[in-house]
Symmetry: C2
């Protein structure tokens, strides 16, 4: 990038940011709607031509990627054999950066928050992912290109088909609205529904794609037992919950941290390190009592101010992330959701902080979420992330994984736009309940009540000497039926 271009972009970018701040301030001060709307329009006028910005970003990124490759920070794995898409190695400098990031993560979370760090295996028996719902829910529908043999995700193809169709100037307003609806809801569709939509789309145009078929994620067939390679480290922590709980003196809350390699069967890896088939994930499961989600150290972070992007703001057109005080945001946010913590950092050296509860009863106390959002913010700032390029965005309802009842992402603005690098999810009791049911081991915590609770219970005591003559041979069945609660 030339210096004049850079300064032009920087200027425009600052103008946009100033305008965003102005909008935020107006909204915070409850300005009249027309005034706010006018301010929202302004940034669009001062924005430089989108395609020029994008081209510039791409050139800049290409230069950075080439340098990182040349200096072996990160480079394609097994390049002498032309590599495999989505696999990257860290050279000496890259590995050093990774070790430093992990060391800071360990200090900020494991040490300072007194967590248990454990290490489970990547190989995971099939039963675990059947119970967790990964096998059923992460079965991406894929489509094979019969010409070049490449695989593509059906939802991506449907989206791109709809976006291309919309560019047709002859299309009716009604059809355009329908296409918008498909784009907005494609992620809500089941595999079967998606297959139907794709068949409909592909019948409209010349296509080299074969019909769609489901793809199992992360499967690794070992002779001795069907195993998967884990796509997250969390399931090991969930399966061992009872052991960790006992080791913690049967007290809640406590947190279990893991760092390790995870594997994802990406159909078409892209965007460099953002979608890879193998990467290091740093995860935390924070287990809390479902009725006691306040956090004793929340006041340490309550006064932090940074960019947040709540769900209801995203649903209005032309809105931006706003600088909010965490303490106030938590009070505000908690009115409409129960939120918990699940953090990721970067697809390659991903840091995750997950909070799960044994049972979610609908309480709206989200100090625990707020606390971990604050800790993640402090961690990322200490890592050197520019606070103007960091925001916490609330997931929309149709974005969340099957196990999440709520999710916030820490997003960093880079040459690919705003990219999720830490995820904060409330998994509620989804995983513990699923494994309890499928394994037959109750993964629950126990609580000693200050006062015993007395409950009156109606019970049936069969009078055998009456039942005998009345039911004869069926007496036993009758007694059994009566004993069922």
């Amino acid at each position: 990038m030339d210096a004049p271009e850079q300064s032009f972009l920087r200027e425009k970018s600052l103008a946009v940011e100033d305008q965003e701040l102005a909008v935020g301030t107006l909204e915070d001060s409850h300005a009249a709607k027309p005034e706010t709307d006018a301010a929202i329009q302004l940034p669009n006028k001062s924005k430089p031509d989108k395609s020029a910005v994008e081209k510039d970003r791409e050139d800049f990124r290409e230069a950075v990627v080439k340098t990182l490759d040349r200096l072996l920070f990160v480079h394609k794995s097994f390049d002498i054999y032309r590599g495999v898409a989505g696999l990257y190695d860290f050279g000496p400098h890259g590995r050093t950066v990774e070790l430093n990031v992990l060391s800071l993560w360990r200090k900020c979370f494991v040490d300072e928050e007194d967590m248990m760090e454990v290490a489970c295996t990547a190989l995971t028996p099939e039963a675990v992912f059947n119970a967790s719902g990964h096998v059923k829910n992460f079965t991406d529908l894929m489509v094979k290109d019969e010409v070049d043999g490449a695989f593509h995700r059906a939802d991506h193809l449907v989206k791109s088909y709809c976006e291309n169709r919309k560019k047709d100037p002859t299309i009716s307003a009604e059809n355009a609205a329908e296409l918008d609806k498909v784009i907005a809801h494609v992620e809500d569709l089941s595999a079967e529904e998606l297959g139907g939509v794709w068949n409909h789309c592909s019948s409209h145009e010349e296509s080299t794609f074969s019909s769609s078929s489901p793809l199992q994620l992360d499967v690794s067939n070992f002779l001795w037992s069907k195993c998967y390679l884990r796509p997250e480290t969390a399931q090991g922590s969930f399966c061992n919950f009872k052991d960790y709980y006992n080791l913690n003196g049967r007290k809640l809350p406590f947190a279990v941290a893991q760092v390790g390699r995870v594997f994802r069967n990406e159909i078409s890896p892209r965007q460099g390190l953002l979608r890879t088939r193998e990467f290091t994930l740093a995860e935390i499961e924070h287990f809390v009592h479902p009725e006691h989600k306040s956090h004793s150290k929340f006041s340490d972070v309550a006064k932090l101010e940074f960019l947040m992007f709540p769900r209801e703001e995203q649903e209005k057109p032309g809105q931006f992330a706003k600088r909010l005080c965490l303490g106030e945001a938590v009070a505000k946010v908690s009115v409409f959701v129960i939120i918990f913590a699940y953090l990721l950092f970067d697809k390659k050296k991903k840091l995750i902080l997950i909070s799960t509860t044994e049972n979610v009863l609908g309480h709206v106390n989200s100090e625990t979420l707020g606390y971990f959002i604050g800790r993640v913010y402090l961690f990322l700032i200490r890592l050197g992330i520019d606070k103007e390029r960091l925001r916490f965005r609330h997931h929309l309802a149709n974005e969340m994984a099957h196990y999440a009842t709520d999710c916030w992402d820490a997003e960093i603005e880079c040459s690919y736009g705003w990219i999720e690098c830490v995820g904060i999810a409330d998994r509620s009791d989804y995983d513990l309940r699923a494994h309890s049911e499928k394994s037959g081991h109750a993964l629950v915590a126990q609580e000693k009540l200050a006062e015993p609770i007395e409950v009156e219970k109606l019970a049936i005591t069969p009078e055998m000497k009456e039942l005998g003559p009345a039911f004869k041979g069926n007496q036993k069945n009758v007694v059994e039926a009566l004993e069922v609660d």
Copy 2:
């Protein structure tokens, strides 16, 4: 174990050790053969009843394993689903121990020896292990038990069959000798030969085993490309050799270190952590000029004295490891082998130091091996290993992996006996040559000579005007044939 039993065992054990030292001293002083032989016999007399010692070891081990399990140092993975044989998790204490061991390893090797630490992927395309010989050579012949569905390695079954047969009192001396021969050479057999031997063995007795069939190691089928899970981290370092060499300013020697999870498709995992299907491996590849294997820091370790067990000592009956001075041992050992460095520490948190050379020319300078044996000794002692229970044993010729031209193991005596925990192998140019041939990329180092070497070369210069009339239409083929070296 009761206190009196313990003290009895300790006494006997000390007596054995004293006797071993006495034998060593006699041998060192070149005592007459009968005197040495008599000393060798003595330890056998003072040894306590073998089965009592073994029972005691087993009880002790069981108690330790139970404690480690209860305190979550290490425990079966996915136990709520009854687990998978050969998969273990580290709980908080175990993970802390692992991190401390890796941290000391990083300090002793990566930092103090100025190595490059890198991180390659565990997923590895098939072409890599075809080239490295793993697919062909680590294809264990296995046998399925038709009754319980369990798999067993054919070589283990053959050994156990022969050992059982030998217990038959009616067996002839000739047959017993034959069985001994089979036991000694079962590891030399090809899969086909082994299959023949097993069929012969199994035809002699009632057996529920089906016939043997080969088992591929570590295979994981991904839709997009056939990949294996690495059984060692080394292949990534070999494939990237040229990049690391360039980054090092095209200078030899240099070393590449890696720590990461590796996977082995053990047919029947056993002995707790000693044979697992997934574990962390710490490996070092030390690349040296094949003609300059001296080591500039060898004098730092030359005066160390510890137990060594050379190959020729193992081949004589009744021999033991002897305390040798490393500097003298290297001089002695180098008379008959070229030795290089490949270190492992414990099957679970295995540390490996591998040295490879671009080309082995048969020189006998093994200072580099000696240096790394010394460094490994110092590392293990700093880790807290009892030096009386640590020895360096030379591999016998039929023990070595297909890629090794020589191998020494650091062995630690534990409740399972003397167990390999660090391996030191000379892989010569095996891997670099194999990948050069299969990939078409020359993985070689270049050397600038002080003086140019002048070579006289006979060359053919075709005289076109003579060839034309003589060969007419075939002129072109003749010229091409002449130009081939």
